[in-house]
Structure formats: structure tokens, C-alpha cells
Symmetry: C2
Subunit: 236 residues, 2 copies
Amino acid sequence: MKLETPIISDSKKVQNEIIAKIKELINYKNLEPGDKLPSERMLSEKFGVTRGNVREAIQKLEFYGLLKSIPQSGTFVANIGVIAMNGMIDDILRLESPDFKSLVETRILLELKTVKLASLRRTEKDLKLIKEALDAYEEKVLSGQDAVQEDLLFHLAIAKASGNSTMNTFMLTITPQIIIDFEKYHVCDKNQAALGIREHTEIYQAIKAQRPDLAKQKMKDHFNVLYQYCYKSKSA
Amino acid sequence: MKLETPIISDSKKVQNEIIAKIKELINYKNLEPGDKLPSERMLSEKFGVTRGNVREAIQKLEFYGLLKSIPQSGTFVANIGVIAMNGMIDDILRLESPDFKSLVETRILLELKTVKLASLRRTEKDLKLIKEALDAYEEKVLSGQDAVQEDLLFHLAIAKASGNSTMNTFMLTITPQIIIDFEKYHVCDKNQAALGIREHTEIYQAIKAQRPDLAKQKMKDHFNVLYQYCYKSKSA
DNA sequence: TTCTTACAACTGGTTAACCAAATATTAGCG
DNA sequence: CGCTAATATTTGGTTAACCAGTTGTAAGAA
């Protein structure tokens, strides 16, 4: 019998192992801010992995500001205390693919804010783009097709109109995972679609009228249905 | 005279150009969901860039669920309508390094939620870790050293205690940029430090007492100071 | 001894060659 | 002509060689 597809891919697993070993090495050698790490080649040999694996791990730690690679020179420990370093690496290692509940919880938090900001800041062009997304969604639904993507694009259009690039980025980041989970847990079946159109339209109207509190309330109503649907099939 | 360091690196720029060209190509060739893209080698030749550049661009689009690479077979267009595809690619291209205001706005939103969740869900171990972060911060401050890193680690400890992996990840994501901006705009100078200790302590006490609303209020007070400080040196 | 300088070794970054699997093509049989 | 099987080609993924710049070393002059 074939084994289950692993939740975390092997390459991810080996990368985390490398990060853990780098952490050990920093502690063992008492490396302080500004000190140089062994070269990628040495680390790859020491850890028994390819240089590519080591590079990936280093780049990840570099993204979180813990290391700094300088071309033709070396990789250096960032200006951060050893306790802080250990804490942050532990956090990074603990980063797992987010559970559905966390994802929904975060999405609701973000969207209740973005819809409010969009109501305040939206330009006419933003409004036009939201309307287009709404129309595309409606068309797909009325023709009986699956409209999960168009649904989310409506929400992304709102995020864009919020004028907050960070929240916009976060919405884009979680959207792919939401699509995957929706398909996995079979959220958003057809009979919800008609209701979805009405709710989307109400949200759009509130944004158009620049009524942030109303828009937030309509978004809340919209998510109430979703929330219940999610927790129906999955234990909270 | 040497030119300024570019805000967006060249490699990032060329990657965006490739993404834009892939978008054009999908539109020009009317590729539909499931259709195969030209091979990486052909694209690299067609665009006049290296295969590595093409691979990076494809992997980015793959992350956002727009493409799907299958080993020894090809790269395929995801099951998403052409309008949706264009919209999401535009979003991705528009993704810029976030402005300070967006960053602060998002951080406040996230932290007012995580501190509330942490008050409700924190385990004894969480509480211990938060206390340790608080002590480390206090020690650094009282010895007159720079404590930006320890400051943020206290907040990260709260995010971890919130039990929401997505928000925890987001906090980790924005933290490096916050550190950079803090240093750039010289936020958090020494005379604020003493006040910071008191505020941190009050937040910790509220979490310990499991009083979510009080914790949220204390966090709000904490950010009020920060907010004013930010907008003092930078036009809103 | 001390400072300068030429040179060798090492560094992270990049490129091109290589790999196994999937696919397209063609040869051969019925 | 129709179908199968053998083969050649193409694919994304991976590895090893290469590159230019930096750094450590030591030789040589003052």
C-alpha cells in the first residue's frame, strides 16, 4: 500500500533540519553579532547535504533578518542577541502550513479592516474594478459554474482599494491556501451561491456609498454564513 | 558620483518583467486553464534572459496558484478564468515593498487581535516565554543598550501565544521590515524606553490575568505613543 | 621590525551541463 | 490501414563547474 502524501515535503523538512543545525552551530561556537559563519561548502559537507540546500536555508534566515550574506565574502550573524536569535529561529522552525481555523480567523480580521478602509479611501477606479469583479462573479454563479476564484477576486479587489499594501499582500498570500482548503473541505456549494451574490452586492453598495461601518457589518454578515459552514464540517 | 542604491533590485525588476511577458503570452495565445506554457528554455530564449530567471518567475506565479509545474512534463495554466488570471498577475506585479504607514497600520491591527487571543488561549508555558522576553527587554533597556530587537521579540512571544499560526507567521514576516524602518526613521529613542517597560509590563499582567479587553486597551495605549512618534517625523 | 605589495586561496553568486521521467515520433507487425 | 512497441526528443529538476571579487598570507623592501 502506498503511503500518504507527506504534509510537509522532504525538501522543506531537510531545510528545517539545516536551520536547526545552524542554530546549534551558532550556540556551540558562541558566535556573536557580526561573526562569520562557515562557508556554504563547509556547511554542506558538515551537514551531509547539497550546497543548494544550505543556500536555501541561509536565504530563509536572511529573509527574517537573522543572517546577512555578502558576495565573495561570507555569511554573517545579524546584530541580534543570542537569546533573540534562538527565539526567532524556534519561531521559524515552528512555522507550519497554517490550519484552516487560523486561516479563516485571520482572513476575517483582515477583511473587516480592508472593507472599512476601502470605504474611506476607494477611488473611482477602485470602485470600477470592484464592480467588474462583482459582475464576473455573478455571471459565473448564474451560469451554474464554480465561482470560488471569482469570489475571492472580489475580495482581493476590496483589499486593493484599501490602500494598504501590506494587507493587500497578506490577502494575496492566504488566497491560494484558502482556495485549496475550500476545495478540500467542499466549502461554498452551489445553494450558497445565490445568497453570495446578494451579500457581495450589499458590500459593494456600502463601499460605493462610502459608509465604512455599514460595509464592515455587511462583510460580517457575509462571513457569518461562511463561518458556520466551516465549523459544520470540521470540529472547532 | 555613485548612484543611489535602487529601491527595487535589478533581479526583482527583471522577474517582474518576465511575469508581465508571461501574462502577455497567455493573453496573446489565448491559453486556457490546463493549457501548457512553452518550456522554460524557450521562454528564456524568447525573453532574452537566463533560465534561472524564468524559473524564479514561474515559481512565484506557482506560489500564488496561477501556474502549476509538473516535472518532466511542463508548466500549465491553473484552473482560473482569463480575467481572474490577469487581475491576480496585476496584483502580484503591483506588490511593492510596503510603505511604513501600511506596515504600522497592519501591525496594530494584528497585535490588537493577537493580544486578545493570547489572553484567552495562553498556556502557562506561553506565559513563561512572554515573561522571559519581557525580562530580556527590561535588562537591555536598563543597561542603556538598544533594545529594538528585544522589544519586538516580546510582541512575537504574544503572537505565538495567540494560537493563530497565520497571524504568527505574518508578525514574523513584517518584523524584519519594521526593524529596518525603525532604524531608518530613528523611532524608539532612549527616553521612550522607560515608558516602554511599564507598558510592556502592563500588557503582560493583563495577559497573565486573562483579561482580553484590558490587554487590548493596554496594547492600544502602547501603540498610541508609537503612532504619534511615527507621524511626527513622517508626513501622514 | 614594520609596512607595502604581489599572490594564492576562498567566498557567495551564476551558469551550463547533466539526469530521469514523461512525451512525441517512428518503425514494425498484424 | 490500425495498433503496438521501441526509440528519440523534450521536459522540469538537480548538480557540478565556473566566475569575479574578497580576504588571508607571506615575501620583500625600507
